[in-house]
């Protein structure tokens, strides 16, 4: 497939936004049970603002993918059958919830809504946070399923696609949260860095699993099934046009194999190896670590995710390409 930069930015930006929100609410939940020191509401408010900005940027990027963005509202109608439609519904819902969560922390409007049998209070932000968490995971599933549900794109048609979207998005979000915590909430910095490390390692495992799986895939379709002639040797002489068409532009990445392989190593290095190194250094340095280190980890990881997403699209080999092999 031809990687569209609109979609590369959309999926990476909202992935990081979701991850950041999950990180914030994880801290809040731990703090509510006294497992972490309570944090200032500024930390949550600032984090939510950044998450909302990431989500808005992602949404903005997505419009560049549409031929007719002015009709985008229509895309919320087919949620019964289309994962794309479901994403279109869940994304603004999650965005709104993140916004409300941020506002509640910002204004300090955080009344106790209920009390647990144990006597622990349930605040408004806890309720908003739980709904937001559910929506964040739902959004990962929707985004992943948009690709995983296409059965002929076999590189994508695997549960690993959904798992990767979830883990890689969360990893970048936790890295960002850790970088934020350096100045805003130093007390939870090691906690967030630790989780960023763990999720990045899990992401490395699942992304490697999908790379290994895809390398072993045998195509199901062939020229024989494409035109229905059972002869071992068939060559296309002409695809019926010379100047190219939508079919030659949309479904081919147009890069060499070497380029593809370089991007693969590049993203493995920048999404996983370098951030893991930086995060570990940051963790071992403790609260005294230079804040720039963790920020750098996030920036490198985000750059790596752009490459990872580019590769994700480029690697998928659409069966329609069988019909477009020769210009004459």
């Amino acid at each position: 497939m031809h990687p569209a930069f609109s979609v590369v930015f959309l999926t990476t930006l909202i992935g990081a936004g979701q991850g950041l929100f999950l990180a914030l609410f994880t801290v809040e939940s731990y703090a509510a049970f006294g497992l972490l020191p309570a944090q200032s509401s500024d930390f949550y408010a600032l984090g939510s603002v950044i998450a909302v900005i990431l989500l808005v940027l992602g949404l903005f990027a997505s419009f560049f993918h549409l031929g007719r963005p002015e009709r985008a509202w229509r895309s919320a109608t087919q949620w019964r059958t289309s994962w794309l439609s479901r994403e279109v519904i869940v994304l603004p819902a999650f965005m709104g919830m993140t916004f409300l969560y941020g506002v509640a922390h910002w204004t300090g409007f955080n009344p106790v809504i209920a009390t647990l049998p144990s006597g622990a209070p349930i605040n408004l932000t806890a309720v908003l946070g739980v709904i937001g968490t559910v929506l964040a995971f739902a959004l990962y599933v929707c985004t992943g399923m948009i690709y995983a549900c296409l059965r002929f794109l076999r590189e994508w048609h695997t549960p690993l696609t959904v798992i990767n979207y979830t883990l890689l998005g969360s990893a970048s979000g936790f890295s960002l949260a850790a970088a934020l915590a350096v100045t805003e909430a130093p007390g939870v910095m090691p906690f967030l860095t630790g989780w960023a490390l763990i999720i990045t390692v899990l992401g490395l495992i699942s992304r490697s699993a999908s790379l290994i799986r895809n390398a072993r895939l045998k195509p199901k379709s062939s020229l024989q099934t494409a035109i229905g002639i059972k002869h071992p040797k068939i060559v296309q002489k002409t695809m019926g046009m010379m100047g190219g068409a939508f079919n030659t532009r949309e479904f081919f990445h147009g890069q060499t194999r070497t380029m593809l392989r370089s991007i693969k190593w590049l993203f493995l290095l920048t999404t996983f190896v370098i951030p893991l190194g930086l995060l570990s250094v940051g963790l071992s340095a403790g609260t005294g670590s230079p804040g720039g280190l963790l920020a750098l980890a996030f920036v490198v990881q985000y750059f790596g995710l752009l490459a990872e997403r580019w590769f994700f699209f480029a690697q998928a080999n659409h069966p329609q390409n069988l019909y477009y092999q020769s210009v004459a």
């Binding site: 895309s75 087919q78 019926g240």
Partner: protein, 243 residues
């Protein structure tokens, strides 16, 4: 239930692109139009087409055959392109099984084209909506046309009658009979899309000779000759004399 479809005879198609041209001509001025071109007279002319004729070489030199292969939307009975559409612009008609795009609803997200394994959908670069074969839905029901004209433009244009059009769910239709007798098949059956369009394979050319053609029916000498009648292999007057 009706399922309209094309049946394309690869044994007959000569790859002349008449169907491509007539399809473009009819549809660019019809309901689905315009089908815009970019650089039509420039270096890399490109544009929207519903139908393409491709050419394949089968076998190894010198034993090769050239196969011309027209390709358009196959109006799948289980179309994977329809459920993925987020707007409902892509739909399959219940009454005749034609898969259509509503150009007023389509947002040009291209998701349906990703979901079609055959590459049958093309985004119109000017209108920015998805386009594909409509089976000339604006022709085949047009009662101001004669019965003969109420067929898709490509079918009307084909000089070799390689394209048949009809209801494949009616076992007595010409298309159903053609599929049955000439072993019509579907493309990429491995994806379970159940395409409505079928292709008729290359066939060995058979010379069919009837019994009466073996006898020189116009040879009066043999008919009038003495009984018992001489065998079919016996020389007749034509073989032994030169006029």
């Amino acid at each position: 239930m009706t399922q309209l479809a094309l049946v394309i005879d690869l044994n007959v198609c000569v790859g002349c692109h008449a169907c491509v041209t007539n399809c473009k001509e009819w549809n660019t001025s019809g309901e689905a139009g315009p089908m815009v071109d970019q650089n039509p007279y420039g270096k890399d002319p490109t544009g929207t087409f519903f139908n393409r004729v491709q050419t394949f070489e089968v076998g190894e030199f010198p034993n090769t055959e050239t196969v011309h292969f027209p390709k358009s939307c196959l109006h799948c009975e289980d179309p994977p392109c329809v459920p993925v559409c987020p707007t409902g612009a892509s739909y399959k008609r219940k009454e005749d099984g034609i898969v259509l795009v509503d150009y007023e609803k389509c947002i040009g997200c291209k998701y349906c084209s990703w979901a079609c394994p055959y590459g049958a959908r093309e985004l119109d670069e000017q209108q920015k909506v998805m386009k594909k074969c409509t089976l000339c839905v604006d022709r085949i029901y047009d009662t101001t046309m004669t019965e003969e004209e109420r067929r898709p433009a490509c079918v009307r244009a084909c000089p070799t009658s390689a394209r048949l059009f009809g209801d494949i769910h009616d076992p007595h239709s010409s298309v159903s009979r053609a599929i049955r007798y000439a072993h019509g098949y579907q493309l990429m059956p491995e994806w379970g899309t159940n395409p409505a369009n079928h292709y008729l394979p290359r066939r060995k050319t058979k010379l069919r000779i009837r019994e009466d053609e073996l006898e020189r029916a116009d040879n009066p000498l043999k008919i009038d000759s003495q009984l018992p009648k001489p065998g079919k292999a016996e020389p007749s007057l034509d073989d032994v004399t030169s006029w």
